[in-house]
Structure formats: C-alpha cells, structure tokens
Symmetry: none
Subunit: 224 residues, 4 copies
DNA sequence: GATGAATGAGTGTTCATTCAT
DNA sequence: CATGAATGAACACTCATTCAT
C-alpha cells in the first residue's frame, strides 16, 4: 500500500512535542501494553519501565493514561480509514465482488502489518474499555457500513445486484462478516508459510458467497 | 425454549457447597459486576456489598476472583451450547436456510433474555480480559464452527448446497456473520416496540443471502 | 470540668467500628500530624508510620483523608461547645464580667489540655485548609457570637451594661479579643511555673477592660 | 496613604536581577497562587503557567518556592509596618482613642486594597504553613504590641488612661481585638454599598469600648 | 539568559487476598 | 461457618527542582 500513513503520536492535541525517536519508543511500548492487557489492565508503571523513561517524563508528554490511549486509537483509526478510502478510489468501476475482495485483502494487510493495533481495535475497543471507546467504535462502524451500502447500491444501479436486496441491511451483514473474519485472522495462529495460501482461500470463499448471494436471479442476465 | 438450563454455580469444581439461594444472590451480583466493568475492572469490594455477603464468606466459597469468573463463564457457555443443541435436534431434516435462521433466532432469544451474560461473552471475553478467556472463546468458536460445518456438509449431501462450496470455510463465514450480528443486536438500542419487526427483517436478510449464496448453480445459466 | 467529653472518633458516621485502643492510637497520630502540618500538608504515609498500622488498615477504617480530618474536627468542636454550654449554665445569674471571665478561663483550660486540637482550631481551620473548614468555622463563630450577644443583652436588661452599647457588635469585639487571646496563649511558650500566674493576670485584665468598657456611665448606678 | 510602599520583590536577597515589569508579573501571579491555595498547596507549575514564564527562568531568578514566598511575605510586612509608622507619626499628640481608631482605619484600608496579601497574612501564615511563617508572625506581633504599649504608656503619662492599667497586657488585648476584626473584615462578604457604613460602625464600637475601658475612674463613683 | 525535558520521591486511594477470632 | 480486620503492592498522577542545550 503506497498511501503515506500518519504517525502514531499518542496525544490528541499539540500538548508537547517530543523528538520523533523518543516518541516512537514510548508509543511503541504503549501499544504493546494496551494491546496486551487492555486499557484498564495496562499499567503506567510497566509502560515506563518498558519504554526506559521516568514516570515524570511520561506524564510530561502525555497528560494522562486516557490521553495517551486516545492518541494511539486515533492513529490506528486514521490508518484504517485511509486504507479503506484507497481501496474505494483504486477500484472504482470494478465489479462489486472484486471491490469487496480487495477491501478484505486490505484488511488482511493491515492486520498483518500492525497486529498490536489490530488487537486494540478488535479486543480493547470492542470491550468498551477505555475513554470514548464506545463512541469511537460506533463512528467507525457507521462509516464502514455507509461505505458498504454505497458499494451495494452502486452495483444495484448497474444491475450487478438483485433488486430485492436491502442495501443497508446487507451492508451490515457484510461488514459483520468481514470484521469477524479479520478478528479471527488476527487471533488465529496460522504459520508463516501457510498464510499466503490461507488468505487467498478466505478471500475466494468470501467472494463466492457474496457473488452468488447478491447476484440477480434473472436468467437472461446471469446467462450472459 | 424448554431445555432445562444449567444453573450458574460460579465455581469450577465442588470447592464448597453454598445454599442454593445464597449462591444465586452472589452469582447474580457477580454477573452484574463483571458485565458492567469487565473482569479486571470488577471489584470484589463492590461485589460483596451488592451481594450482601461478607468478604470472608465470598472467599470461603469461591477460591478467587478468577474462579468465580470462570464459574460464571462456564454456566453461560453451557447455556449457549444447550440452546445450539436444541436447535440442531429440533430442526433435523429441515432445509439448511431454515436451520440457520432458527439458530440466529435462538441467538436473538439468548441475548434478549440474558443481556448481562451476553455482555460478558461479547465484551469481556472478547477483550481477552480474565483467566482463560482466550482459550474458552476458542473452544466455543470451534464447537460453533464444527456445528455449522456439519449442517452444510449434511445439506451438501442432500444437494441443497453447491458442491464447490468448502464447508469449513463457509462455516467460518457464517459463524462470523452471525456472531457479529448478535453482538450488534446486544449493543444496539432498538426500542422495545420495534424489536420484533427488526429481528424478523434481520433473519430474513440473513436467510436470503445464505440461500442464494450457497444454493447449487443452475448449469445452463451459471455454467461456462 | 466535670462534663463528660465526646471521644474523638475520626469518622463522620458509623463507617467502621474500631477497637477503642487502636482507634485512639490512630486518631492521636492523626491529630499530631494535622496539627503539625495542616490539612493539605499532612501525609497519610507519615501518619500510618506514626500510628504503626498499614496503609490498607487506615483506609479500611477511614474512608479518606478528609473523612478522618472531619471526624477530628467534629470532636474538637463538640468539646468546645460542651464547655461553652457548661459555663453558660454554671454561671447563670452571675454578673457579666464574671461570666466572661469564666468563659475565658474555660478556654485557657481547653487549650492547655488539648494543645493539638487547639492547633487545628486556630491554625489549620483558620487557614481555610481542609474540607468544610470555612463552613465549620463560620458555624462555630456564629454560635459563639450569638452566645456573647445573649450575655450582653441579658446584662443590659439588668442594668449592668450601658444602654447605648450595641450587643451584636460588642459581641463581635469580645469574641475576637477572646479568641486571639487563646490563640496567643496556645502559641506562646509560657514556662510551666509561670502559667498559673499569667493566666490570672490575663483574665483580670480582660475582666477589667470589659467591666469598665461596658458599664453604664450613670453615677447613681455605679455608685451603689 | 501617601507613604511610598516598597515593591514586592519576591526574593530575600539580591540573587538575580530581573527586569521590573517581568518581576512584577511573576510576583503578582505568586501572590494570587499563595493566597488562593496556601503555601504548600501552591503549585509552581500553575504559577509558571499563570505568569507566562518558563520553569527554568522562574528557578533562575527565585532560588526556590520558599524563597519566592519569603520575598512576598517580606514585602507585605514591609507595607504593613510602613502604614503603622505613618499612623503613629501622623497622629502624634492626639487622644489615645483617636490614635487607635486611626490605626484600625488604616488596617481596613490595607485589607481592602490588598486582599490577597491579607489572605496570606491571615490565612497562610497563621496556619504555620510556609518557611519561617511562625517566626515572621511572631516578629510582627511583637512589633505591633510594642507599638500599642507605647501608645498606652504615653497616654497614661498624660492622664488619659487609668493608672492601674498594665500597658503591656492591654496592648495584647487591643492587638488581639484589632487583628481579629481585620481578619473578619477580610473574610466577610460585606457588599460594596454597605462597606463604608459598616467600617464606621466598627471603628465607633471599638473606640467606645477602648475609651470607656481605659479611661481613668471617677473616684467618687467607682471607688470603694 | 532562557528554555523545557527529565527526574524520582511523593500524593491519596483501591486492590484481591489472608487469617485470627 | 462466618466475619471483617489487616496487609502491602499496585494504581494513576503531581511535585519542586536540576541541568543540558
């Protein structure tokens, strides 16, 4: 994926500016900690030890535990949104099933490249743990569902999708399926040498189910 | 649902026996607390106050916080399994799409009847918070997927499902879709007077997608 | 003074009951600490060390620093009120100057017997440091001034005090004078062998100033 | 009051020289902070933010929190002493009660003009919070009492005050009364449109009590 | 001269668990 | 069998002060 990704800053606003390298060390440690133990399970004590800085310094740069967490979540969500947008723009005009498959593929990429951010997304936020968790997730879900619904409605106008399909409800189903699939991919321990093949198989199964499930039943069209 | 449901015992083994009524009071309070604040967020202090029991007694009957939690999770999982089994046995011989729709319906029932157990399932365990959370969830998922795969394979032998469908992989997809749907139903705030209609609509959308997505392909049309 | 005095409980309500001896140890240490360093200067760490208990135990018995403080303040105020009431009832009918002198004497007693409670009263609360400090002090002051005003008005009806004296305003002045006198007595370091004589001299000076300052100027009365 | 008042320097000795304007900004903020939260409650962090100065600069010019505090206290005390002296010199030869009333009036002026310095005087120092607080206050009190005693002794030689009055002791009583009166005036919330009348009434009551309480006794009446 | 990053001891409070009674 | 007193480690966070730049 060539889109430049925003850096994890770990702070919601311009609170303090911290040299890039050090900031990286701290946020990396924080991502580790939050991903491993959840928001309320994470310990600032453990974090400073892992990051090799003093407690005073940590709070010098990040107002509070919640602030640090929000910065990380923001960054993660920003990356996800950017990737979704890239897929939408990059596949414009392609058949629905191909677009959805591309999206799923991008999801696999993200999970593989940022497993701990994925942990935070799938586990921590999903549990409602942490500040604004519920609201953030709701926003993300709405955005995601809206995107799916657009794709489907668009395909419907082009006759690719059966007319009796309710775009919003099916968007929900597809979103659900895809998110759980990614969560499982993230949680599962597929060995490295099998991952590529596995991914392809998943995408193919998904593509087939979607293609058949949504295609118009009218023979004249299918027969073409 | 007429299947008798196992009682929540809140203890993994026969550690101490506590009069049924008192045990019920304690586990109810524990379910409240765990559902509301997650495993590590839950406070034994708050729990004893809510249950009207002394701290000494609590630890006399439940070895530890983790033990109490596991007992509750066990009970919840036992109930879910029982319901799944009831659907399987009660719909034997019916078309696949009807069986899946029945399962989804049973899921809606469970979430509506036991919202706090659903909270623990969807939020607490999913976040990896609490002892054995990951392993328990994995077991449950395997059982669930195995069940789906059986249904599909069974339907495949009866010619209801296309032969090129990989039962295991599609079981995964269906499981994913269904679980997220239930999680959303649990988290969402559909007003009471709309719930019945909403449920029907969801089940119908799900049924249609499944029916079309898995049905055998008419060769004259799809072939080539 | 024979009035039985309320025990310092160090807790505003029946939060936890603590064996008398232990409770005494803790509240003694707390009084020491608060008297020495003020409310916000006092350290719970130092307190537990001085009391010889664990931090957990301290918070088991006293909800918070503020709660502990309030209990002590309550006890101190209760004792002061009881003594004031005892003087009022015990000197009913006596000439004004004698009643005021008795009150001042009782004040000296209190300060000598409870120097650290006096510290809290004169220093900590006066500084507005600590929960409810301002309100508590205001209540106490109103009670005190009301009492003075009653004494003066009463004496006025008996012709002991000049008619052109404003009871409320003079109550203020007398209250002020007496309180500062006690504060100074508390802060000063009069050696033990001089204290008795000093006290007598202070009371006498006060009595004389009051007697002359408030007496009616009409000769027929004074001459008697 | 036309006496030029010493500037608040906020540093006990010539530690570093800071441009007048900046120094003023800092000490103003410090007075705010100390008056509002007491010595140990005051935060250097909050102070630098309010003063718009860097932490490094603050500690460059003021050795420590205590040093800054002492400078402010010194300045406040210097102002008070100057005003007392001005009253003494400006009322030389006047009757005792007039001189005392003038002093009380000057006190009201000071409290009204510098409410935050008055806060520090009445609340912070009185609580013993802050370096040298006790000693400073004691010095101030001695000076004040000595001044009162001089006034009284002087009046005694002119026959204005009864011969059996002990100047030192009565100086104490007057000082006490006056200080508490000012503290109450400072703490009280007399509305602006009532302040002038209230002040006059207080001064008058004080003057009357003093005049009668200290006046030589008419032997025909009081004697025997 | 001026900055703000860095520090570590300090804050009050909560925790799950043990154990003597 | 039941109680609740006792514990000490852990919690997030603030503090006044130092010092390299």
């Amino acid at each position: 994926m060539s889109t430049p990704e925003p850096t994890i800053t770990g702070g919601t606003d311009a609170w303090r500016t911290l040299p890039e390298a050090k900031r990286h060390t701290v946020t990396e440690a924080a991502v580790d900690e939050f991903a491993a133990r959840g928001y309320s399970g994470a310990s600032m004590n453990a974090l400073v030890k892992a990051a090799g800085i003093s407690k005073g310094s940590l709070f010098h740069y990040f107002r509070s535990k919640g602030d640090l967490f929000e910065g990380i979540v923001d960054a993660a969500f920003g990356r996800v949104k950017a990737r979704v947008k890239a897929v939408r723009d990059g596949t414009s005009g392609a058949p629905l099933e191909a677009r959805l498959a591309a999206l799923l593929d991008a999801g696999f990429d993200f999970v593989d490249e940022h497993p701990r951010l994925a942990s935070i997304y799938f586990q921590v936020l999903r549990s409602g743990d942490g500040p604004l968790a519920r609201r953030r997730l709701e926003e993300m879900a709405q955005l995601s569902r809206q995107f799916f619904a657009e794709l489907i409605a668009d395909a419907q106008t082009r006759g690719e999708v059966a007319a009796d399909v309710d775009p919003e409800r099916v968007a929900w189903l597809l979103d659900a399926m895809m998110e759980r699939l990614l969560a499982a991919w993230h949680a599962g321990d597929v060995p490295a040498d099998r991952r590529a093949a596995e991914r392809r198989a998943w995408v193919e199964s998904f593509r087939m189910l979607v293609a058949r499930g949504l295609a118009p039943v009218n023979e004249e069209i299918h027969g073409a």
